[in-house]
């Protein structure tokens, strides 16, 4: 029997027409040809289409893309308050780039609405030429780009305990870190333009939000690798990340990378602003507090398998996670699949960039045993991510900021994974 294309089409069509009719859609429609069927099916809503995408045309191109209906990662926002934040769904992400709409948030007075055409950045103080820059001025300077993490120094505070809550996801544990490609003008360029004086030692960065949030930064960081960023992952910085421009300080605690930056005053002393005295200072067991602790030390977290996942089968599983350090590059990540008794080098996924999330992975053959998974990051200074007990021994139990102790996941014999103390057994 000769079966031409039309025969195939007609047979398919009759099935589709039947399915459509069963859905109550085709009343009165006459389906003779494939073209008729395409027209008919295009008129149906997506949820009512048949399940075989090879037999129907999809939607046409559109001005703005959308995620697959079945892939809807979400930030997790704290209740609205004076310390509002939202976390990145680390467990849902691949690679190192955080989609901009999933970048974590931490605001001190909400997200300001700043018009780009009236935005200005003032640089003054110990400079030869106090200057006001528009956004267009900033964009006219030679631009740089770097892919780097941004982490709130409060990230992981809930893991800074020997008794963490088992029902904690990677997002809840460490979701105040994200990685973006940041594009902007090097602050060194602007420092050179305004003529920063040689006796300057600090600069105060101030945001244009309702908190006028301010931080003091050593002037060396400005000359080194700071930038005024206006781009993020190929587009303008999102309002939640500082639109239209922000300070970005690679490797340093997120709070210091002042968003919505409106003013930089070059000085010879720190301002002692609220967020560098009463907040973002690190209490120590000896009755003191560490101040201006900018650099984020090396850290890692396994993002798979992790709560609330349950391993359905024994056999090979790829343990996956991210590692990062504010002191350069990650040089190694070690993974333990036996509660810290033994450690093996995980594979690092290129690119391994300085001050950037770095992917690691480690193959693990699970035979149904109860165990604990851990990871520890090592950076180019030789620093090794410490156990929870080691960090508490160095600082005392009262701390919160800069909690970079080892994160662990308990695996039960039924495959259920829960958050666990970061201490080798």
């Amino acid at each position: 029997m000769t079966r031409g294309p039309d025969a195939d089409a007609d047979r398919t069509l009759s099935r589709k027409a039947f399915l459509g009719a069963a859905g109550g859609l085709v009343a009165g429609a006459v389906v003779h040809t494939r073209a008729d069927a395409v027209d008919l099916l295009a008129a149906q809503s997506p949820t009512q289409q048949t399940s075989d995408p090879t037999k129907v045309h999809g939607p046409p191109p559109s001005p703005l893309g959308r995620r697959a209906p079945t892939e809807q990662p979400r930030r997790l926002a704290t209740r609205p308050s004076t310390s509002a934040s939202s976390t990145t769904p680390l467990q849902d992400l691949h690679g190192i780039i955080t989609p901009a709409d999933l970048h974590f948030e931490r605001h001190h007075a909400g997200v300001p609405a700043i018009a780009p055409d009236t935005y200005t950045l003032l640089i003054h103080g110990m400079v030869d030429r106090p200057t006001v820059y528009t956004l267009a001025d900033l964009k006219r300077f030679p631009a740089v780009s770097r892919i780097a993490f941004l982490e709130c120094s409060g990230n992981g505070g809930r893991g800074y305990t020997r008794d963490p809550a088992p029902q904690t996801t990677p997002q809840q544990a460490d979701g105040l870190t994200s990685t973006s490609e940041w594009i902007g003008v090097p602050l060194s360029t602007l420092f050179q333009e305004v003529g920063v004086q040689s006796s300057a030692t600090w600069f105060v960065a101030e945001g244009g939000d309702a908190a006028l949030m301010a931080r003091s930064i050593p002037v060396e960081k400005g000359w080194d690798d700071a930038m005024i960023a206006y781009g993020q992952n190929g587009e303008a910085i999102r309002p939640e990340q500082g639109y239209p421009a922000r300070l970005f300080l690679p490797g340093w605690e997120g709070n210091a990378s002042v968003k919505w930056i409106r003013r930089i005053e070059v000085t010879d002393a720190p301002l002692m602003a609220r967020d560098e005295t009463s907040k973002y200072t690190d209490v120590m067991a000896d009755g003191r507090s560490r101040q201006f602790s900018f650099v984020m030390d090396a850290k890692s977290i396994i993002t798979f398998p992790a709560y609330p996942y349950a391993l359905p089968d024994r056999g090979w599983w790829e343990v996956r996670g991210i590692a990062w350090t504010g002191r350069g590059r990650i040089t190694a990540v070690e993974v333990s699949t036996d509660g810290g008794r033994s450690w093996e080098a995980a594979q690092l996924q290129d690119p391994v960039l300085p001050m950037c999330h770095t992917r690691f992975r480690h193959l693990w053959n699970w035979q149904g045993e109860e165990t604990v998974l851990m990871s520890r990051a090592i950076d180019e200074t030789g620093y090794v991510q410490p156990s929870t007990s080691a960090l508490i021994a160095a600082r005392g139990p009262g701390g919160f900021y800069h909690s970079n102790n080892i994160r662990a996941w308990h695996v039960a014999t039924d495959g259920v994974v829960t958050f666990a103390p970061g201490d080798p057994s």
């Binding site: 308050s81 004076t82 001190h108 007075a109 003032l122 003054h124 030869d128 030429r129 106090p130 200057t131 006001v132 820059y133 001025d137 006219r140 300077f141 030679p142 060194s188 360029t189 420092f191 050179q192 333009e193 920063v196 004086q197 040689s198 105060v204 101030e206 309702a210 908190a211 006028l212 301010a214 002037v219 060396e220 000359w223 080194d224 005053e265 002393a269 301002l271 002692m272 602003a273 609220r274 005295t277 009463s278 200072t281 120590m284 067991a285 009755g287 003191r288 507090s289 560490r290 101040q291 602790s293 900018f294 002191r327 200074t381 030789g382 090794v384 080691a390 139990p397 009262g398 701390g399």
Partner: protein
């Protein structure tokens, strides 16, 4: 002619990029000196900032009192300001919340690092009185930031410091008296001593 002008095009572009990136990567020592003969000519983008523009934006108040405005406020005046504009968030005596607790001298031994439940207040943790003024002026009250005039800010700061038993009930704060206040926690802070490497700090 500006030797790295961004308007040049064509085959010069690569050379210009190299020149510019060399400039950017100069050491702070070389760049910090305005007399450095090697310093490149500025692009000159942007506009000169007038003193008035700077003054309108610059609200910084430093521990030495630099930046404090004219005006003054007493503890008694501060009580009125506090009850009207602060108490709803911080409680009638600065201890009730619902937002940050402002008042309390315990733990007086700064034992926060040993006790996670210890609450940090202006009286037991804030190292500088200037910070209270600076923060209140720039960010408070939370529902109307920047709405207090200098006298109200001085007064509110005075009342909070009085509640913390840092200043007496007849104190009046102004640009002279505020920087002289020594906060209980002033000597508790030290600069970051982490340096990477093997040691955990």
């Amino acid at each position: 002619m500006n030797g790295r002008g961004p308007t040049l095009a064509g085959s010069f572009a690569l050379l210009l990029l190299v020149t510019t990136s060399c400039t950017i990567e100069r050491t702070p020592e070389a760049d910090a000196s305005p007399d450095d003969p090697a310093a490149a000519e500025p692009f000159g983008f942007g506009s000169p900032a007038s003193d008035a523009f700077v003054a309108a934006l610059d609200l910084d108040v430093r521990p030495d009192g630099a930046g404090l405005p004219e005006g003054s406020g007493s503890v008694a005046e501060g009580r009125r300001v506090y009850l009207a504009k602060c108490a709803a968030c911080h409680g009638p005596t600065g201890t009730e919340g619902p937002n940050d607790r402002l008042v309390g001298r315990e733990p007086s031994d700064f034992s926060f690092g040993r006790d996670r439940r210890a609450v940090r207040t202006v009286g037991n943790y804030w190292p500088w009185a200037s910070t209270v003024f600076d923060y209140v002026r720039r960010a408070m009250p939370f529902d109307a930031p920047g709405s207090l005039d200098p006298d109200e800010v001085y007064a509110a700061v005075a009342y909070v410091l009085y509640l913390n038993e840092v200043i007496p009930d007849d104190a009046v704060l102004d640009a002279t008296s505020l920087p002289r206040i020594v906060m209980p926690a002033q000597d508790r802070f030290y600069p970051d001593d982490r340096v990477g490497g093997r040691e955990v700090r």
